[in-house]
Symmetry: C2
Subunit: 375 residues, 2 copies
């Protein structure tokens, strides 16, 4: 069964001067958890980089054990004969810097103290994540990327890739994202961080090895979940259905089904994600601005040499489609090769993790075009 | 100076059997805080009822003292010669049941215990609020209303008025609201309640006379505030401006201006509003459904005899314009007199508290039409 995969690890920056973060702070050693699917060719130029969103992991495709019930998070799109065809491409996905799925982050052990970093972990940025990914690709022998693809925070990384390593890829495909995080998104992140940090069990981030701020993290996820879906989806899925006998609706312990769903999602995340990592990754998103360090957004965009295929989601309230539409207009104005495509869906922001058929159809045409060029 | 007004009080339901809430629970005595502007005519039929939103009060117009810097919340629209002309109309605004601005609510003294009700206060609904308002109007000698007007939770009351007392008014004008609260709005209310109830200082609602869950209430307000404005407004007002030197952006204590604004709004509300009241009013909104107790929404709408002027706000993410547009279509289908008008604004849901000129222009034409009919 060739769909069995294993998360691997690569550690670098043993010297504290080896990896300087965008903030100027030094971090090391850095371990990156990653998975690969397919085989790298001899020239090292058939690679595709997949980038995950806020609570995602390196496990994008395949199964970890033969009894696994859940495949990787983008499995319908990645595999032999699938849209991102592992018979042709060497597909890489790594857990981002600051996360808790194997890559160094606030829940990792600080070698200086022997205890988890907690809030002593330095602030990381989307650009830092991308630079760590570049180190991994160098280590793997990748010389050139055919495509860099990701949604939401993954899309932020894709755009940062295009600006930071302009000659390194043919195409970047950011989905449901923006070139600079909008104030509304910062606002939603701010209240989520606040929910975690207000929980007395957060203890200033120093809660290890305890469970930490489980109620605060669940609340943060509940807030986030509202922004990941859409009004239309909620109306169709739950409407005003009440989770119990109708007369209980006057009772404060009673919950509408939409409330039950949010609580379910909150409780589910708490079992699999670290609260400090959530705070750090939300901050990294707030700091997302491909123009930082350049004189202007235009100067940053001028650096781009790859094709940029932007996929907006029609019902996305977090990253409304106008954001990527505007980016494509800006890129075209600068003479860049860019295209905007809209994924029509009522699933809201999360559509890129749900609408595999529609997203696959959009991605397929671009991979066909890439192959036509490659022939 | 005829613009000086005083909040007055009316108390009724001294017998516990006098006022049965929609939940079946009894509540009494009930005090209602209210203000009136203008003079009731002899027939008692020149009254206009103004309904406030979540954290509003009876103080809709005028000044409380000669030195007052802030007039009532809808002052630009209500007064002598203004759109809602107090030379012609007897304007009434009362604080809703369950609030903390003079009307009986969770922060009021429970006569049975001599202590504030807290969570022993019964669940109240929008319909209960309206029935309390009707008792007040009866007490004031009002026989007929020319118009019933309100935005957001005030709009919910306006629609409930149209269904509960169909022959009592010429016109209802709900703004930025819906006939039944949507699951997305329930979701946003649920996380706000959760923020308050997770605060250890909430103490199960038993925090009087202490300040109570100030951090939780502030967080609830911050979340709410995001939904009351719009992406477009935030982009224009704050963009990605950072509240301090740029290099501090990597610091967790650093805040973007949008974050500063949310914190400011959160802290401001805490000084003026009670956390339990916030919880109860959010629950009342969740329960808002003009069809409850009727066989269907259609049956409820069939009861309406007044003109219904629905004003949606173009950038409202909490009550997207389609909600009131759909309601008007339903009313017209049933042969009712209804009209949908859209207030074009980038201010989001809060536009009805900000865009006085545009809203005034819309309201003016309807008041002119009403007067034409009256002549």
């Amino acid at each position: 069964m060739d769909r069995l995969v294993k998360t691997q690890k690569y550690t670098f920056a043993f010297s504290p001067y080896e990896f300087v973060l965008e903030s100027g702070e030094k971090l090391g050693p850095i371990t990156v958890a990653y998975e690969t699917y397919g085989t790298l060719n001899q020239r090292g130029d058939n690679a595709v980089l997949i980038l995950h969103a806020l609570t995602g992991s390196a496990h994008a495709a395949g199964y970890h054990t033969p009894g696994d019930r859940e495949p990787g998070w983008w499995d319908p799109l990645i595999g032999p004969g699938k849209v991102i065809d592992t018979n042709r491409y060497f597909v890489v996905c790594s857990n981002v810097l600051g996360s808790c799925y194997g890559t160094t982050g606030p829940a990792s052990i600080n070698p200086r103290t022997g205890k988890p970093y907690g809030m002593d972990f330095p602030t990381v940025t989307i650009r830092d994540m991308v630079r760590v990914q570049k180190r991994l690709l160098d280590h793997l022998g990748v010389k050139h990327l055919i495509a860099v693809i990701g949604g939401s925070m993954g899309g932020m990384q894709a755009l940062e890739w295009a600006v930071t390593y302009p000659g390194y890829m043919d195409c970047v495909i950011p989905i449901a994202t923006s070139a600079q995080l909008t104030p509304q998104c910062i606002a939603f992140n701010a209240v989520q961080r606040e929910a975690i940090m207000q929980d007395p069990d957060w203890c200033g981030g120093d809660y290890y090895p305890g469970p930490g701020p489980v109620r605060g993290l669940a609340l943060a996820r509940m807030i986030g979940m509202i922004t990941y879906k859409s009004d239309e989806l909620w109306n169709r899925r739950f409407g005003r259905d009440f989770g119990g006998p109708d007369e209980k609706c006057f009772d404060f312990s009673g919950r509408f089904e939409i409330e039950n769903y949010l609580h379910y999602q909150g409780d589910k995340l708490v079992k699999r994600f670290d609260a400090n990592c959530y705070i750090y990754l939300a901050k990294a998103m707030d700091l997302h601005d491909i123009a930082r360090g350049y004189d202007s957004l235009e100067e940053a965009l001028r650096r781009i040499r790859s094709i940029v295929i932007c996929i907006g989601i029609s019902s996305d309230i977090l990253f409304p489609p106008y954001l990527l539409r505007q980016l494509v207009e800006d890129l075209l104005f600068l003479g860049k090769r860019a295209k905007y495509v809209e994924l029509k869906s009522s699933h809201g922001h999360d559509a890129f993790l749900v609408e595999f058929e529609r997203l696959g159809a959009i991605l397929r045409q671009f991979f066909l075009a890439i192959e036509a060029v490659a022939v």
